[in-house]
Every structure is written in structure tokens, then in C-alpha cells.
């Protein structure tokens, strides 16, 4: 978010007490300077923190990515782009990219449509609507670490809740090793992600649905549109801004996925559920190859940035009109 703090001098109480006309312009200039000074004073602590804790470390990570560096002292061994060439020959990292894509596609094709269906369902008048909404939203409130521990127990092979229940109803064949089997680990992980996040997207859609004017659906009804036509041609287009934001959040979330994977599988078995963030953590904090880990984080940042900019530029353009701050409206 960008925003500029500029006190609007027309709304202050002093606006009603104009100073003598003679030194009006001088006093205005002084006041403006004072305004700027006050604003700068307020900005400075935040700016210092932002620079020191966000911007500088980011730039430093970019710098460190060109070194072989163990994380202590200053990086001294410059190796050019070697970390990056190594990165794109690393099977684990290439696998990370593939798994990231897989999660994005699954989210867009399965999770979000499911959330939308639930939202449409719960937008109707029905008994216990609030209870359902709360129930579906509740998983989102849990922390990822707790979710991970919980499902680690549920999906424990044999002893876990999932296998026990499946065994009781005679569906043992459906049970298995879940997180422990390379061929099922991603599906299991996606199941947990969906459980945790569909409620959040459902809430977004519910809010969006509230904003769809009933007159329009009624008009469509009178024009003889069926339920599907009303949904497809009235509700969905009006929900589009919400959908676009929800897709955006979902993709960025998939790119940065860490906690859930770390707690449930730590990237295993045999790297089959590793994500970019997990690989970065492994190299940075387990192997102390901080230069290489920085290169991974730079690539992650690059992917997020390119996606975010392209998405805002091409998809969110209409939604953001007027919301982004430009320098021309500086309150004068």
C-alpha cells in the first residue's frame, strides 16, 4: 500500500481564522513548511524501521546472493551468478517450482470454486446459516503450526484418526500413509490447505455477494433468466473484483507456503513436498549456506514481485482505479 501523509489544511480549525492579508503568503509558506516538518517527524520512526528492518535486509539478501557465505561476519567470497546457475540445476529447487505451480493450479481449479459454491449456498436464507459460516471460517483462525500438528496426528498411518475412521466404515483401502508416501503427500497437503483456507475465501465471496444489488437479480428473474443464467450473467460479473483479489491472495500464499509444510513433513518424504521457502530454510539455517539461501529468497521475491505487478497491471487495473495513490492529488 502506498499512501502519503499530507494534512489537509482546508479542514483544520485554523482554516477559519485567516491571518492578516499582508503576510498571508509568507505565513502560508511557513505553515506549509511546518506541516511538512510535522509530517516528516511522524514518518521518520516508521521510515527508519522500514528501511532498517525491511528494505536494507532485502537489499542485503540480494547482495549476499552473489557470495559464498556462511552467515557470520561479512560476505567476502564473491562468486558472481554461481548461486543462481546452481539453483536452476538443483533438482530440488526445480521440483519446488513445479510443486508451487501444482498448488496454484489446484487452488484455482478446486479450492476457490469450492469456496464460491459454499458462499453461494450460504448466501441463501437457511436455518443455521450463521453457524455454518462460523464453522467453515473457524479453521482459518487456527495458526498454521497448530493445523500442521493436528493433521500430522490425524493422518498418522494406522493409528491416526483418518485411518481409524476409514477402517471402521470398511474403507481401509482408502487409507494409507498420507504424508509419509511420496505419491500421496501433495494431495494430503492440498487437502489440509483447502480445509484451512477455503473458509477465508468463502467469507470474501460472501461479503462480495452482499454487495450484489437484489434489483439486478430480480430484474433478470423477471426477464426469465434461470438460476444458472442469473448466477453466470449477473452475480458472477459483479463478484469479479472479489474473485480477482481472492485469486491474488491464493497465488501469493502458494508461492510463500512454509509453516504447514515444515510442521507436517519438513519437505519430505525425500523432498516430495518441499516448497521454495522450505528449501531456503534448509540451506540458510541447517546448512549455513546463507549465500545460496539468499539466492533462493531473491528468486522467490522475484517471482512474487513479477506476479504481483503483472496481476495488478493487467487484472486488477480496473479494481484499483482511484485506490492507488498518485502524486498528483497532493491536497492542493
Amino acid at each position: 500500500m502506498t499512501s502519503t501523509f499530507l494534512p489537509d489544511k482546508r479542514t483544520g480549525r485554523d482554516a477559519g481564522l485567516p491571518p492578516p492579508a499582508t503576510d498571508r503568503s509568507r505565513s502560508r509558506a511557513r505553515r506549509r513548511a511546518l506541516n511538512w516538518l510535522t509530517a516528516a517527524g511522524f514518518q521518520l520512526p516508521a521510515l527508519v524501521l522500514f528501511m532498517g528492518l525491511v528494505l536494507l535486509p532485502m537489499l542485503f539478501a540480494l547482495y549476499a546472493a552473489f557470495f559464498r557465505w556462511g552467515g557470520f561476519g561479512m560476505p567476502t567470497e564473491y562468486i558472481g551468478g554461481e548461486n543462481f546457475t546452481r539453483l536452476f540445476q538443483d533438482d530440488v529447487f526445480l521440483g519446488d517450482l513445479w510443486r508451487c505451480l501444482l498448488l496454484v493450479v489446484l487452488s484455482l481449479v478446486v479450492q476457490l470454486p469450492f469456496a464460491l459454491a459454499m458462499a453461494v449456498l450460504l448466501n441463501q436464507r437457511m436455518r443455521g446459516r450463521a453457524v455454518y459460516r462460523m464453522l467453515f471460517f473457524a479453521p482459518y483462525v487456527l495458526s498454521e503450526a497448530i493445523t500442521g500438528i493436528l493433521f500430522g496426528m490425524i493422518f498418522a498411518p494406522d493409528d491416526g484418526f483418518a485411518d481409524q475412521v476409514l477402517g471402521k466404515v470398511g474403507l481401509d483401502g482408502l487409507g494409507g500413509e498420507w504424508f509419509a508416501d511420496p505419491s500421496t503427500v501433495m494431495a494430503t497437503l492440498f487437502l489440509v490447505m483447502t480445509w484451512k483456507y477455503f473458509g477465508f475465501h468463502m467469507m470474501l465471496y460472501l461479503a462480495g455477494l452482499q454487495a450484489v444489488p437484489r434489483e439486478l437479480t430480480e430484474a433478470a428473474l423477471i426477464d426469465g433468466a434461470g438460476p444458472w443464467q442469473r448466477f453466470r450473467n449477473v452475480t458472477l460479473p459483479l463478484l469479479a473484483p472479489t474473485l480477482r483479489i481472492s485469486v491474488f491472495l491464493s497465488v501469493i500464499g502458494a508461492i510463500q507456503l512454509f509453516d504447514l509444510v515444515w510442521v507436517t513433513t519438513a519437505g519430505g518424504p525425500d523432498h516430495h513436498s518441499e516448497t521454495m521457502a522450505v528449501t531456503m530454510f534448509q540451506y540458510g539455517f541447517k546448512r549455513y549456506q546463507v549465500g545460496y539461501a539468499s539466492a533462493i529468497s531473491v528468486v522467490m521475491f522475484g517471482i512474487s514481485l513479477v506476479f504481483a505487478l503483472a496481476y495488478q497491471r493487467f487484472v486488477l487495473r480496473r479494481d484499483l482505479e482511484g485506490a492507488t495513490t498518485t502524486m498528483r492529488g497532493d491536497g492542493k
Partner: protein, 430 residues
């Protein structure tokens, strides 16, 4: 009454100024220092942050102070990982504490090479010589003493005697083929032979490390690291032996996703009698009882079997412990403290109250637990020693061993590939 607008402005300006002030203030760090006259203060950095060791160690420091009225012991306690990273930073800055915890091995050697550690060879005679030989191993660098141990332990097989009886295994195996036979017999009785925490990788590494010690000899792992070459035939052979074991499918269901100490993990599987064995350190019985029910009298211990035709012997030990080293130029009082900490009276107390294994031979009598006694027996007759790889090797190499052995166990890497990838990482790390 003043101009309300002005006072508002004044307030804003004042709070903005306060904001500025805060920023400057927070930029200042606290610098504290102090000296004392007459008494010597020695700083003691350790990692005993958990009870009962925390209290026992603090009490020992007070006892030392009481015996030496002119000495103050300042204890600095850091949690394991925090300590490791703090020490790495201190090592690069060139200043170490008077007395500091060490695991020996590669990290200690780095500090010694940087000229930061006191050579204790002559200053700890004769009392240092009397300590258990295997316990001193990790701190010997080129036959000079750079650390004094307070604990020592080793990895071996913990097994369920009742399940062994059920499978008709009379004696714990002493050879690799005998071990594989035992695994087959257990499988035939539909008993899971081994529990393994595949998610955590390091427990799997123990198999490969021990097999490499048995095929190539106790010195080989350190030598291969120093030469940056793990491609020798015995290392590939070690991988093949591990493959033989994996081919029998000896591990519990879902072991690739299992943790070590969780209620559904490796220790619990053995502690609840669901698996017959695990390869683990001397802490295993405690974790088994903590994560599961614990086996009590049914629990037994046997050393990692010898491999037929290999250079290593069954009496060679893979393990490690804890010790203390001194910074170069530390005062005599620090040496006195080490002597005090390695005395029979102290060691008896440590063995009794904190469950460490004795480093003073006479303190053996304090061991009550038969399992710990069995471990102690092995340690006493040890003829060779290899320190835990994560302490002996640089972190990246240690992790690569864990990672590639985990891949071997999962069936995605061959013994040759394991040897090559470890060699590659070792070369990168110089």
C-alpha cells in the same frame, strides 16, 4: 486560553519530536562492563538450560566459590542452537568466554586453528589423564588436549527382549548377516523389526555412519572428510549394506513421515512395543518412556554389529558427549574449575542427579540403571571412536550426509550417488 489550533499543532510537533527521540534512543544499545578488585571472575558458558541440570550446575558453581573465596563464577546459559550460533559469531570476532561448552570435533578444531583455545595438555596433568579414554577423544586434536569432558554417550541398538524371544532370537546379533537374519525372523512373526524417524533424517544417518565405520574402519569417516573424498569402495559398500537392510522392508508403516519423539514417532513405536529395535543414543530409554509407555525390564542394548570382511571392529564407537574448553590465556582459576568439575565428587553428583554417563571411572558406581550400565560397558572397552557427524563435519556436509542417506533409504539414490553427493558438498565447503 491560547489558540487551540496552535496548541494542537504544538502537541503534534511535540509528539513528532518524541517519536524522533524514541528512534534515537532505541538505536543506543546498553553497554555494561565492570571490574572487581581482589576477586577473579570467571565466565562459564554452558547449555544446561533444562532441569535438573540447570539447578545442579548452579549449585556446583556456588560450591566451587565456597571452596575458593577469591573466585566468582559467572554463569551464562544459552539454549543449544542459540549457543551454537552465538559461538560462531564469537569465534569470528576472536573472543571466547573463559570456560565454554564444546562438543569437540571440527568446531573445536576451527577454534584451535584460529588460536583461540588454551592447550590443556600440561595444565591438566595428572588428573586429566585419569578420565575415561573414550570420553576424551572428541577434544584431542593432534594428540593435544583442548577440552575436558563431563559426559559421554554412544549410539547402539535398543531392543525389546520379549519380541526377540517371540521371534526365537536367543542372543543379540554381533554380525551384519546375523542382524539381517534377526530382521527376517522378526518379519516372519509379523513383528516390525525397526522403528525409524524418516522425517527427521538424522536417525537414518546413524545406520550409514556405523556401516561406514564397520566397512572402512573407525578413522575412515574423519579421514574422508579431511580428504574431501567419500567415493572409496568401503563407503559405497556401506551404502550397499544399508540397501540390503532396506530391501527387507524392516521399518514401521509410514516411517518416511515419522518424527523421532512425537507420540506416533520412532521412540514411541519402540516404547509401545510396536517395533522391536531402534538405533539410537543413550538417551533412548528416557524418550521411549516419555513418548510411549516405555519397556522397563524388556529393554536391552547391543552394539552395532560388525560387518564381515570390514576393517572396523564391533568395539568401535559412534557417539559424543559434552565438555569444556578454555579460551587462550584463561586464568588459572578456570583450570581449577575444570579440575573441580571433573572430580569424583562432582561426577558422582552429575551421574546421580542429571543422568550423564560418568567420565571419572570411579563414578561408575553411581549408575543405577542397567541400560545405562550396558552403554557404559561398551564405552569402557571402546577401541575406536567417531564423533557425531554434525559435530565432526561442517553443517552443510553433515546435512548432505543426512539428506542423501535419507534418499537412499527412500530408494531414490544409489550408494554411488550418496558417496558422490557427499564428496561434492565436502569439496564445496573447503
Amino acid at each position: 486560553m491560547g489558540d487551540p489550533a496552535l496548541s494542537r499543532r504544538g502537541f503534534l510537533a511535540a509528539s513528532a519530536a518524541a517519536g524522533l527521540g524514541m528512534t534515537t534512543l532505541s538505536a543506543c544499545g546498553g553497554d555494561s562492563g565492570g571490574g572487581s578488585s581482589g576477586t577473579t571472575t570467571i565466565e562459564w558458558w554452558n547449555i544446561s538450560t533444562t532441569e535438573p541440570a540447570k539447578t545442579v550446575w548452579a549449585a556446583l558453581a556456588r560450591k566451587f566459590e565456597a571452596q575458593n573465596p577469591k573466585v566468582k563464577v559467572k554463569i551464562v546459559q544459552l539454549e543449544n542452537d542459540a549457543y551454537k550460533s552465538k559461538m560462531t559469531a564469537l569465534t569470528s570476532s576472536g573472543k571466547l568466554p573463559d570456560i565454554f561448552h564444546t562438543w569437540g570435533g571440527g568446531v573445536l578444531k576451527q577454534q584451535v586453528d584460529a588460536g583461540l583455545v588454551e592447550d590443556l595438555t600440561d595444565r591438566t596433568k595428572p588428573w586429566g589423564d585419569a578420565l575415561l579414554p573414550v570420553a576424551k577423544e572428541p577434544y584431542l586434536i593432534d594428540d593435544r588436549v583442548y577440552g575436558i569432558p563431563f559426559d559421554i554417550g554412544m549410539i547402539g541398538f535398543w531392543y525389546n527382549k520379549a519380541l526377540f524371544d517371540q521371534a526365537g532370537i536367543a542372543e543379540p546379533p554381533t554380525t551384519w548377516s546375523g542382524f539381517l537374519d534377526a530382521v527376517r525372523k522378526l518379519k516372519a512373526e509379523t513383528i516390525t523389526p525397526l522403528a525409524l524417524a524418516g522425517k527427521e533424517k538424522w536417525p537414518g544417518m546413524y545406520y550409514w555412519a556405523y556401516l561406514a565405520m564397520r566397512t572402512a574402519g573407525a578413522e575412515a569417516l574423519q579421514k574422508a572428510y579431511d580428504d574431501k573424498d567419500f567415493t572409496g569402495a568401503p563407503f559405497v559398500e556401506a551404502g550397499r549394506h544399508l540397501e540390503e537392510l532396506v530391501a527387507l522392508q524392516p521399518f514401521q508403516k509410514g516411517f518416511l513421515g515419522a518424527a523421532y519423539s512425537s507420540p506416533t514417532g520412532q521412540a514411541a513405536a519402540v516404547g509401545n512395543g510396536k517395533a522391536a529395535m531402534e538405533l539410537m543414543g543413550q538417551w533412548a530409554p528416557v524418550v521411549q518412556a516419555d513418548a510411549g509407555k516405555g519397556l522397563g525390564k524388556d529393554l536391552g542394548f547391543f552394539p552395532f554389529p560388525a560387518v564381515e570382511g570390514g576393517k572396523g571392529a564391533i568395539t568401535e564407537v559412534f557417539g559424543g558427549g559434552g565438555g569444556h574448553a578454555l579460551r587462550r590465556g584463561a586464568p588459572q582459576e578456570a583450570v581449577d574449575f575444570l579440575k573441580f568439575f571433573a572430580s569424583e565428587a562432582t561426577d558422582l553428583e552429575l551421574v546421580k542427579k542429571t543422568g550423564t554417563l560418568p567420565v571419572v571411572p570411579a563414578a561408575e558406581s553411581a549408575i543405577a540403571d542397567p541400560n545405562i550400565k550396558a552403554v557404559q560397558e561398551q564405552l569402557k572397552k571402546a577401541t575406536g571412536f567417531q564423533l557425531y557427524l554434525d559435530q565432526a563435519y561442517a553443517p552443510a556436509v553433515g546435512q548432505e550426509v543426512n539428506d542423501s542417506v535419507a534418499a537412499l533409504i527412500a530408494g531414490s539414490r544409489s550408494p554411488e550417488q550418496v558417496a558422490q553427493s557427499i564428496t561434492k558438498t565436502a569439496k564445496e565447503e573447503q
